[in-house]
Symmetry: D2
Subunit: 309 residues, 4 copies
């Protein structure tokens, strides 16, 4: 999964024209910048390369430097946004799927979130009836990736959905952002599920209402930026630097032309390389804490915090 | 899953009579002691509390002290035994399931084996046709335990079997042995699958041909001994010690009587405690190496070793 | 390090006489049972096999079953007790040493505590002068064990003390308790340092004011019980069970005699085996959280909590 | 520590002139490309920014893609090279220091190597005298980094050297390479120790014969490339691409000028970002295997392989 907010910026291009069939709104809550991109028509979907639906991006640039400080506000905003996407009735079952490879740090945010999640589906009938009435059945799995299972993630999820018939699937994934400032500083929520080809692990098949059989909410965190992307960013910066010979060249070359040249020349060499902060292990852990706590709060609105730790 | 060879010893009791409908044979291969218990009739199955089938136990007492030294012979014998249970035609798909909780060391031998396994099902069509013809499609999953997923392991496996239709399931699990000398020193193979109630993690439902829909081979390693068991062992030892007042008491009390008393008095206190060697982390890792390499060899008889590392 | 409170019970024996030169007091704070054993004279020290000094034991039996619930009170009491043992002036440097082997779960509580500690010694001169004045210089190391370093822990600590000249050393260690109810449910603090021969990892040399050159406060957590100990507990329980032939034998045999017999017969077989709860990985992690937060609070009385996360 | 072979290329610049006082030789052994840079004079040292001494670089470009395949030849060549730097008499003690932060994957190659090392110093007197005569005393420590200990690594090493008086220190470290093709594909050995300011973790003080008190051999592996470096590489590539407007600009701007501009513009943004392959966790593990086995072989020339596993 890549980011809708970035897709839109790309589509708008240098002219900053609006994309037909796509609306955007911005707001600020508790220091978290929230962008809502809504793809409203088929034309918008075609232009964006993303299906109709709502895509929320929560940007917290300070997270990378001071994760513990901004964690509480991110959890507060994220759990509020998630709650609006979950069934209100707490007797509806939710299956949380942690995508990605737990052995590769930048791809491990999904599995690590699932490890910290409050799982309750199996407790029905074992807890008292008051608690049971207020506790949503939540199941969770971190199925692994194609390279370690030999099975498409979609097939594993589909098999499980057949067996336990959840009302909703929530898929947690690591994203590759284009823009450095989103690196370990942004969370995206989409009510359209996960579409093929994006993400760190490059799922070959998506997880959507069509393929899975029940609605899919996707939650993604940018944990890497592809190496080719930062070269582009660097050239932009250099082009803006006073007096550099590059500046002139940059002006004589369209952005699209530049991107084509980079892709042709750089992709073979930088293709599989990733840019991450040095502290990626710790930041991915803290992000998994944030996602797990936000999910616990929003999935279990009727439980008191001390009932689920 | 608990051990057939121990069940038989219990059933035979002090009189060392044979159990009707159950045959036992012993052999020694490359320093590995192999016991084959075959439950041949329904009467034998009823007496043993285990379904009809073949149960092989490979005992390597030296493993606990010198794992690296005895590893090669254990792999050699284990892969030979496993091969007889797997479909000869390498176009038959096998699904390996690593049972247990990867976060709890003594229960992690299944998931850790799966991490080291040669997974090939997704490579069909991506490797050249010669290799493709010689390479068995192998898929693998470590589904987690009920407490972390909220879903019965059987349901996850059943869902996956529906999706990918393997010809055989191999289930790897941690066992609780009664006898200390089997602790991290024994591997059991059974062609009957996994039955409810045994094992470290206490699966509530078994994985068998009946419940899963395809044949299930179970591979188990003893990683813990229940604390109550070693009290029994200790009393036996003390009863044999010269001149102890216990000795006389021991002779006046039947083994069955003793076990009943221990269970009543000790189970509430020692119930969930486990006995493990101090080096359990390293020994479980080495065992996972042994199982993964033995499975790789026996599942892929037509690949050369350098083709799968 | 083994537990003073248990040494005293052993010395007192069945007669429950007081040990000369040793005083004991009990109190209850926020649900935590606190026992203070003070060894006041050389005679007491000789009888107890422990040097003169104060040994506090904090017992929280509920920790094993509900760690998250009792964590806050344990932190509150522990940090209060620790503060009385630390230099009040925050310009005095403290070196925290996490003893034990990080690769062996029950022995890893020291290294894992150190990972979570607020380390500040290197920040002097990098933070503003107000913060600098209120922040105690804290250094920390997890030196590993003799088997992984080839060097006695004492030598590593002594070398470091020579280099950085701390005013106090705090040594965190895993303990082996005799009594099951202390397993992952007790913390011991001693102002006498660590003495040879105890603990899970069996340090051959102690860490004391004499050997290290500065005062040493020891903080220990019971993470295992030796397998031989639970046999003793089991025999006590059986001896109390109505009508068992053991009961009579138990009465005819002194406790000391029994312990001697067990040691002779059982030690060779159970010697290196440990009893731990199934959830030991998670419980050791939570204990490391407790110790790190208690140390942070008591070492840094002038920092606000948000200044050190 | 950064790489001598790269420092030389930088100093030589575009004119490819030889650097006075610096000799270079190339050879190929078992598929491993070996470059020996010898800094022979003070002038050479000044020009290179590196002290007089020998710097060997072993390049194995295939490692990143097929680590298991090229591992044996890398071990063979590396252990041969290391042996020439170690004291021949096996009664001389060697202390191996694994630098870096075990919690940050690209910085963890030192600590992970130490975990796999054959440590023997404490076995003297415990093994039979024949073995004892043939076994070099080896000690090892992974002291952590300044941010986690609050103590300069040099101080920890110096303290330990005072206590155990080794004849040689071997320091293992992660390097930051400039050139992408060295990323997880090169090992550097230097007989001059480790100098301040280089490396992934940016040690503030070096580890050299002068500072430590005994000779120091440095072994380094490139695990990251700084993000700013790949921008430079990318611009080179683009400048060579036919018909790009950049090409002309590149020709009008000296390499030194370009580097200055990049540093001014890019460093503030890309400063702490790292480029790594997606498989960095597994590659760092395999490199630690390679280093540990090479060290074991070269430190213990008189032990047979089966004596040390």
């Amino acid at each position: 999964m890549d980011m809708a907010v970035e897709a839109r910026d790309l589509v708008r291009g240098a002219a900053h024209e609006e994309v037909p069939g796509v609306t955007v709104s911005h707001s600020e809550e508790a220091g978290v910048h929230v962008t809502v991109v809504t793809v409203e028509s088929e034309e918008g979907a075609r232009l964006m390369g993303k299906p109709r639906g709502r895509y929320l991006t929560l940007d917290v640039p300070a997270f990378r430097d001071r994760p513990d400080e901004v964690k509480p506000s991110l959890i507060a905003v994220l759990s509020r946004k998630l709650r609006t996407l979950f069934p209100q009735a707490v007797d509806r079952t939710v299956l949380v799927v942690g995508l990605g490879n737990r052995q590769a740090t930048p791809d491990a945010v999904g599995p690590r979130t699932v490890e910290r999640l409050l799982v309750t589906r199996h407790l029905q009938g074992w807890v008292d009836s008051d608690l049971s009435r207020r506790m949503r059945p939540v199941a969770a799995i971190a199925p692994g990736v194609l390279g370690t299972t030999g099975v498409e993630t979609l097939d594993i999820v589909r098999g499980l959905v057949t067996q336990i018939a959840p009302d909703l699937v929530v898929a947690i994934d690591a994203l590759a952002a284009r823009n450095l400032r989103r690196l370990l500083a942004s969370v995206q929520i989409a009510d359209t599920g996960i579409h093929p080809g994006g993400g760190v692990g490059n799922h070959r098949q998506g997880l959507t209402a069509e393929t899975v059989g029940v609605p899919v909410v996707a939650v993604g965190v940018c944990t890497v930026v592809q190496a080719t992307s930062i070269v582009g960013d660097a050239l932009e910066l250099l082009a803006q630097a006073e007096g550099a010979p590059w500046q002139e060249a940059a002006h004589r070359w369209s952005e699209a032309g530049r991107r084509r040249a980079w892709d042709a020349v750089l992709a073979p060499i930088f293709g599989t390389l990733m840019v991450t902060p040095k502290e990626v292990d710790q930041l991915v852990d803290t992000m998994a804490d944030v996602l797990a706590e936000s999910l616990n709060r929003s999935l279990q609105p009727q439980l008191r915090r001390e009932e689920w730790t």
